[in-house]
C-alpha cells in the first residue's frame, strides 16, 4: 500500500521558483498525471519525489512516511526516464535485472522476475540483445521493464512516450494503462500532452508556472475548468474565448459579444445574473459545442463567415471570426461549408463558460439553478 502526499512542495533554482507550494494527496493505486506546458516544473516535481533533486521547502510522504531525508534507493520508487537511459553496454536481461542484483536478490528469484516482466512487456525474445539492436518502442519497453521488475510502491514516469512516433505512442498508452490495471501500483505520470493525460489518468493535476491550477478527474476538468489556463490547455483544439459583457434588456439578460451578436444568458448563470452586469468578462465555448444546426432546446443559432476549413475526415473544423477573435467550430463533413461563404452555426448553451477577465478564473455556474 503506498499513498503519496506532497505538502507545500517548493523548489527554487537560484532564486527562481520553479515549483511553487504544491499540495497533492495521491491514493494508493491511483494513476495521477501531472500535465502542463514545457517548463512548468513537472519534471522537477517528479525528480523531487524520486529523490534526485533536493526540495527547497515542503514535505514528501510515501506510505505515510516522510522521505525528505531518505536516499532515492530507499524510497521504494522506480522511475522511467524520458530518454529511457538504458545501460548501452548491457543486454536487455542485464538492464532489467541489475537493480535486483545490486539489492542482493538471489539468482533464481531474479531470473523468475525478469522472465515474468519480459512476458508482461513482450520482451521474451529480446532478452539477450543490446539496446542499440532494439527499435524505439522496444527500448521504451525495456525502460518500463526495469521499473516493473522491482515491484516498487510507486512508479514515476517522465514523459515516457514523447520520443515515440504518433502511432506507437497511442499503442504504448494503452499498454501502460493495461499494466496499471494489472499491477495496480500507484503511478505518477508526467506529460505535456493533454490527450495522454485525459486518456490515462484517474486524476489530472494541471500545472502552470510551478503552481497547481486544478486537480480533478479528467471529465470533471474538461467539463468544469476553473481557470482560463485549464480551459484552454485541456481539449484540442482549445476553447474559444471572446470578449463580452452581460446586459439587461427589459427582464431578459443577454451575453453581448458585439453590436450584432447577442446571446440569451444561459440558464446555469441565472442565479447570479445581476452580479454579472458591468463586469469585464470573456465568453468561452469549445469547438465541439458549436455545430451545424441541430434541433434541440438550449441552443442558439448565429451566422458567420468561414475563414478557413480543416477537414479531419470524421469532422470538419471551421475557423471563423467572432467579435474580432478567431474561433473554431466542429461541424459534420456533410454540412456544406466553403471558405469565404456565410454559414449558420449552432451553439450549445449548456456547455458555455463565462470567464472573469480580471482574475482569469471561470465564473462558477449552477447547473441546477
Amino acid at each position: 500500500m503506498a499513498n503519496v502526499r506532497l505538502v507545500g512542495l517548493t523548489k527554487k533554482f537560484d532564486g527562481n521558483t520553479v515549483v511553487d507550494n504544491v499540495d497533492v494527496d495521491i491514493e494508493h493505486g491511483e494513476f495521477i498525471v501531472l500535465v502542463g506546458p514545457s517548463g512548468c516544473g513537472k519534471s522537477t516535481t517528479l525528480r523531487m519525489i524520486a529523490g534526485l533533486e533536493d526540495m527547497t521547502e515542503g514535505k514528501i510522504m510515501i506510505s505515510d512516511r516522510t522521505v525528505n531525508l531518505i536516499q532515492p534507493k530507499d524510497r521504494d520508487v522506480a522511475m522511467v526516464f524520458q530518454n529511457y537511459a538504458l545501460y548501452p553496454h548491457m543486454n536487455v536481461y542485464k538492464n532489467i535485472s541489475i537493480s535486483l542484483s545490486m539489492r542482493g536478490v538471489d539468482k533464481t528469484e531474479i531470473d523468475k522476475r525478469v522472465k515474468e516482466t519480459a512476458a508482461i512487456l513482450g520482451l521474451e525474445n529480446l532478452l539477450y540483445r543490446l539496446p542499440k539492436q532494439l527499435s524505439g518502442g522496444q527500448r521504451q519497453r525495456v525502460a518500463m521493464g526495469r521499473a516493473i521488475v522491482r515491484q516498487p510502491a510507486v512508479f514515476l514516469f517522465d514523459e515516457p512516450l514523447s520520443n515515440l512516433d504518433a502511432k506507437l505512442r497511442v499503442q504504448m498508452r494503452t499498454e501502460i494503462k493495461k499494466i496499471h490495471q494489472r499491477v495496480s501500483t500507484t503511478i505518477i505520470y508526467v506529460t505535456h500532452d493533454q490527450t495522454e493525460a485525459m486518456t490515462l489518468a484517474d486524476r489530472i493535476v494541471v500545472m502552470n508556472e510551478g503552481k497547481i491550477e486544478q486537480i480533478g478527474a479528467p471529465q470533471d476538468i474538461y467539463d468544469h475548468p476553473k481557470t482560463k489556463f485549464v480551459a484552454s490547455f485541456i481539449g484540442s483544439p482549445s476553447m474559444n474565448f471572446v470578449g463580452c459583457e452581460v446586459v439587461k434588456k427589459g427582464h431578459s439578460y443577454f451575453i453581448k459579444l458585439d453590436e450584432n451578436v447577442m446571446i440569451p444568458l444561459p440558464k446555469q448563470y441565472h442565479a447570479e445574473k445581476d452580479a454579472l452586469l458591468d463586469r469585464d468578462l470573456e465568453f468561452g465555448f469549445r469547438p465541439e459545442h458549436v455545430t451545424e444546426p441541430r434541433s434541440s432546446v438550449d441552443r442558439h443559432k448565429f451566422n458567420v463567415t468561414v475563414d478557413v476549413l480543416e477537414p479531419l475526415g470524421n469532422d470538419t473544423m471551421v475557423y471563423f471570426t467572432l467579435a474580432g477573435r478567431s474561433c473554431c467550430a466542429r461541424v459534420s463533413p456533410e454540412y456544406a461549408a466553403e471558405a469565404g461563404r456565410g454559414i449558420e452555426l449552432d451553439l450549445d448553451f449548456a456547455k458555455v463558460h463565462l470567464l472573469d477577465g480580471v482574475t482569469n478564473r471561470i465564473v462558477p455556474a449552477y447547473n441546477n439553478a
Binding site: K73, M79, F81, Y87, P88, I98, S99, M102, Q133, G136
Partner: protein, 292 residues
C-alpha cells in the same frame, strides 16, 4: 564530368599531395636503410631501394651479441648497443606507463567530470596548469627526488613519474562528460552506490577514451628521448631512442643506413599498437542508451 565528381577528384588530389609530403621522407628512410652506405647520401635523393642490404638490420639487432663475420663488407658504422634488449626496456616502460595512466586518469577524470567536492574547479585548473610547464623545468627536481629514492638509472624511475598525467585526466574527463547524466540517475534509482555507478556504467562506457589515451601514451613514451637521456646512463637500461643515438655515435663514419634501419625497426611496435588499438576505438558505444 559533373561538378560532384570534379569536387571528389579535387579533394583526392589535395589529400594525395599532403599524404606524399608526409610519406616521402618515410619512403626515403626505408629505402636508404636498405642501401650500401656509400650510396646513402646520393644526390639527387633516390626514393626507391637500390640495393637490398638486409645486413644493415642484422647489424642493428645482433652486432652487440655476435662477432662480425670476416666476409661481411657492409656498413662501416656498426652498432654497439644491445638493441633487442632496449626494445624490451622500452616496452616495459611503455606498458606500465600506459596501464598506469589509463587506470589513474580514469579515476581522476571521473572525479572531475562527475563528482561534486569542494575546490573541484580550482584543483582541476591547477592540474591543467601543470601541462603548461615544460619538462625541462621540472626535470631537475625530478632527478633530485629520484636519486634520493635511488631510482635514477632504472626503468622504475622512468615509469613512476610518468603515470600521473594531466593530459590523460583531461581526456578522460571529456569522455565522462559525454556520458548522459540520466544513466547515473537511472543507476541511483536502481539502488547503486556511487562506486557502482562508476564501476558498472561509467568505467566501461569510457573504454574508447581509454583506448585513445593508451595509444597516445604508448607512442609518446616509445618515442620519448629527453627524460631517458637525463635519467638513464647504463647502456643496458637504455630505451630505443637512446639506442638509435648510440648507433649513430659508434664510429661516426658517415653511413646512416644502420641508423635508419634502427629507426625503421623502432617504428614497428608503435605501428602495431596503433593498428591494434584502432580496432577497439568503438564509435557509438552509447548508441541505444538515451534518446532525444
Amino acid at each position: 564530368m559533373n561538378r560532384i565528381n570534379g569536387n571528389v577528384i579535387a579533394s583526392y588530389l589535395y589529400l594525395v599531395f599532403f599524404a606524399l609530403i608526409i610519406l616521402l621522407p618515410l619512403l626515403w628512410v626505408v629505402s636508404t636503410s636498405l642501401r650500401l652506405p656509400v650510396e646513402s647520401y646520393s644526390l639527387p635523393p633516390k626514393w626507391l631501394p637500390t640495393d637490398f642490404m638486409w645486413e644493415n638490420y642484422w647489424e642493428v639487432l645482433f652486432s652487440y651479441y655476435y662477432e662480425r663475420d670476416g666476409t661481411f663488407v657492409g656498413s662501416q658504422a656498426s652498432a654497439n648497443v644491445p638493441f633487442p634488449h632496449l626494445m624490451l626496456n622500452s616496452f616495459i616502460v611503455c606498458f606500465f606507463v600506459t596501464i598506469g595512466q589509463v587506470f589513474f586518469c580514469s579515476f581522476a577524470g571521473y572525479a572531475f567530470a562527475r563528482l561534486a567536492f569542494p575546490g573541484k574547479t580550482a584543483l582541476f585548473w591547477f592540474v591543467m596548469a601543470t601541462m603548461m610547464i615544460p619538462l625541462q623545468v621540472t626535470i631537475i627536481p625530478i632527478y633530485v627526488l629520484l636519486s634520493k629514492l635511488g631510482l635514477t638509472d632504472s626503468l622504475t624511475g622512468l615509469i613512476l613519474p610518468a603515470i600521473p598525467s594531466a593530459f590523460g585526466t583531461f581526456l578522460m574527463r571529456q569522455y565522462y562528460l559525454r556520458i548522459p547524466s540520466a544513466l547515473e540517475e537511472a543507476m541511483i534509482m536502481d539502488g547503486a552506490s556511487q562506486w557502482q555507478v562508476f564501476w558498472r556504467v561509467f568505467f566501461p562506457l569510457a573504454t574508447p577514451g581509454m583506448v585513445v589515451l593508451a595509444i597516445l601514451a604508448f607512442n609518446y613514451h616509445w618515442n620519448e628521448f629527453f627524460r631517458p637521456l637525463i635519467l638513464i646512463s647504463t647502456d643496458t637500461t637504455f630505451t630505443v631512442p637512446l639506442g638509435i643515438v648510440a648507433l649513430r655515435d659508434y664510429k661516426m663514419t658517415g653511413s646512416i643506413s644502420v641508423v635508419l634501419a634502427g629507426i625503421v625497426i623502432s617504428m614497428i611496435p608503435a605501428l602495431i599498437i596503433y593498428l591494434f588499438g584502432q580496432k577497439h576505438l568503438v564509435e557509438g558505444i552509447l548508441t541505444g542508451s538515451v534518446k532525444g
